[in-house]
């Protein structure tokens, strides 16, 4: 049977999802259609989206997805596929900055819930999951992001407080965040000297500056300096010098979610390019009837379906309690390459129209690099997989 290419037809039916997943997809889709899609162009041009969107997203359960009920989340009956559906449906709006900005707590909060003392969890998680407070994750530094084990920001214990000095950069939601989950050096060199510290952004000695960038305009990205910032010792997340494992654990889930987004962005490119190719006529027939163009579309579909199957398989393993580190690293690379390829081909098919601002493909094209670099660059992912394969 003929099935035209659109966002839904380019997704393989999943054996891992059931009724509650479809119900959740319906909710997120309606939310995106009503509260997000009509405004994304305007928000991106303006360089920000309304803060109130966090609260609205919390009301439908999007912000609390996967987090314990005790802190205001929803975890009963929820699995990793509900969360991937959220990533996918948000990506359908074709604006990565929105996901980065709206869902920053997805990287900022887990270290606290995984490692933090109960009092800290109770203080931080509920307002974040209600969409009232924002939290950012600060790992990357001006001297480097890939080589996490060598980060330099230092926290020195003095009685009941830590004194923090250093600088973080490329921090998503860094400008707006109320709380910062900061990777700091509390011990000696290397991975064994790292800890996580929760730093309230309004503490004396914290200064931040926005960074203009190639894409993701509506999400703020900041450089953050810490000059003799005093932080109470009870803000230490987990045991001292045990932070590295937390950083790594966080990366695995971030990679899965970024892969889901990247593949969904590729589907958006494919759907928009297919629509255009059917409607636009050149040399007396629709673009889609020229072999060069229809094969581009078929190649895009091929790469999307392959990446999608890989994603579902990795997610299924995660759901069953396995963390396939190498596979997740390769999946992220597969996904960003798929997005890159589809964004490129869609731009070619749209021709000049794709180069004009205001369409989804144009924006996604500008967002390819951050997906291939952030959360573990392609090079680092491949090297990680090589190491995990004994090379």
């Amino acid at each position: 049977m003929v099935r035209p290419l659109d966002f839904d037809s380019t997704r393989l039916p999943s054996p891992h999802t059931g009724e509650s997943h479809e119900a959740w997809r319906r909710t997120v889709r309606a939310f995106v259609d009503r509260e997000i899609a009509p405004y994304v162009n305007e928000w991106d041009e303006r360089g920000e989206f309304p803060r109130a969107l966090h609260r609205k997203a919390a009301e439908i359960g999007l912000i609390g997805l996967g987090y314990p009920e005790d802190y205001g989340g929803t975890s009963d009956g929820v699995d990793v596929f509900h969360s991937l559906i959220a990533s996918e449906e948000l990506a359908r709006a074709g604006a990565g900055g929105l996901i980065a900005g709206l869902m920053t707590h997805g990287i900022g909060l887990p270290p606290i819930l995984a490692l933090g003392p109960e009092a800290l969890k109770r203080r931080i998680a509920p307002p974040v999951l209600a969409g009232e407070k924002l939290i950012a994750l600060c790992v990357t530094e001006p001297s480097g992001g890939s080589d996490v084990a060598r980060l330099k920001t230092r926290a020195v214990r003095r009685g009941d407080v830590y004194i923090v000095n250093g600088e973080k950069t490329y921090i998503t939601t860094g400008m707006r965040a109320d709380y910062l989950t900061v990777a700091v050096r509390t011990g000696g060199d290397g991975a064994g000297g790292l800890s996580f510290l929760l730093i309230e952004a309004d503490r004396k000695g914290v200064s931040r500056a926005p960074l203009p960038k190639m894409g993701w305009w509506m999400s703020d990205t900041a450089s953050i300096r810490f000059d003799d910032v005093e932080v109470p010792a009870e803000n230490l997340i987990g045991a001292e010098n045990q932070g590295f494992a937390g950083i790594v654990a966080n990366f695995n889930m971030e990679r899965l979610s970024m892969a889901a987004q990247a593949i969904a962005f590729a589907r958006v490119c494919l759907a928009d390019a297919a629509d255009w190719a059917l409607a636009r006529e050149t040399f007396g027939k629709p673009l889609a009837k020229h072999q060069v163009i229809r094969h581009k579309l078929a190649e895009m579909l091929r790469s999307v379906l392959a990446a999608q199957a890989f994603l579902d398989h990795c997610a299924w393993r995660v759901k069953n309690g396995v963390t396939p580190v190498a596979a997740l690293a390769l999946l992220k690379t597969q996904a960003s390459r798929t997005m890159e390829f589809c964004a490129r081909e869609a731009m070619q098919i749209l021709g000049g129209a794709g180069f004009i601002r205001g369409c989804r493909v144009e924006r996604i094209y500008r967002e390819v690099r951050v997906m291939a670099i952030g959360g573990g660059s392609e090079e680092i992912m491949l090297d990680l997989a090589a190491r995990q394969s004994g090379l």
């Binding site: 049977m1 479809e22 119900a23 359960g61 609390g64 997805l65």
Partner: protein
């Protein structure tokens, strides 16, 4: 009050509907299905009545295939209390559905039935009226506002040329129009809670009702393709075309 809200599983309003090549109907294979949008409005209204304290219980009923449970669950996630599916794979028609709903009403004894004014698949706009007639209950159709006042239901109706308000003695049937409300999203926690709410599955024969179609479909065709318009130079030319080509003057 106890409320009964019938909901129908229909092709999603976003889907580009395609006619089957043998013209026997529209293609339903692999097509996204959803709750009829007017029924979603009916569910929302019922939930608001419950939240306002004017209603105590909301029962949602669907007459349709096994998969119509998805739509019932959605209504439960929006805030309804209990679901009932009367399972049939047959194409449903207004009179059959109204007859079955009457039997369900007699069993459930609701004070008010709130339902969509029509389903977006066949656009019949008949079931609510037929149900009211079969029950001998008052009806308020095309509601854009529903209020309970002094034991009566005041329904503001959208009619040609304006609004009309009717007051109905209970029990009654109300059908919803587009502007009655904006349905809420089923939140994730409520989707999970809805899984645990009761949902009965029955058969039309349990109610002694035969849903056999009474209508025969001869042929389903695509609407004629819209042809490009023409520009007229003068009013006289327009009048001439309306008279002699369109034959509407």
């Amino acid at each position: 009050m106890k409320l009964l809200v019938p909901v129908k599983r229909v092709i999603d309003y976003n889907v580009k509907v395609r006619v089957k090549s043998d013209q026997s109907g529209v293609d339903l294979a692999n097509v996204k299905m959803s709750m009829n949008p007017f029924d979603e409005i009916a569910v929302e209204e019922a939930v608001r009545m419950k939240e306002a304290g004017t209603a105590q219980e909301i029962v949602v009923v669907s007459i349709g295939p096994e998969k119509a449970q998805d739509q019932i669950r959605q209504a439960l996630a929006m805030g309804a209390d209990r679901g009932l599916l009367v399972k049939t794979e047959a194409e449903t028609e207004p009179l059959g559905v109204a007859t079955l709903l009457k039997a369900i009403v007699e069993e459930e004894k609701p004070d008010l039935v709130i339902m969509g004014k029509q389903a977006i698949d066949d656009d019949c706009n008949q079931t609510g009226q037929m149900l009211a007639a079969l029950l001998g209950w008052p009806q308020g159709t095309f509601a854009s506002k529903i209020e309970k006042k002094d034991g009566e239901i005041h329904v503001t109706r959208e009619i040609d040329g304006g609004l009309q308000t009717v007051s109905l003695k209970l029990p009654a049937v109300v059908t919803t129009d587009l502007r009655l409300n904006e349905p809420r999203y089923a939140s994730l926690p409520n989707i999970m809670k809805a899984k645990k709410k009761p949902l009965d599955v029955k058969d039309p024969s349990d109610y002694g009702v035969d849903l056999k179609p009474r209508l025969e479909v001869l042929k389903v065709t695509e609407p004629p393709k819209r042809e490009g318009g023409v520009k007229v130079e003068t009013v006289a030319e327009l009048v001439d075309k309306l008279k002699n080509e369109a034959g509407v003057l």
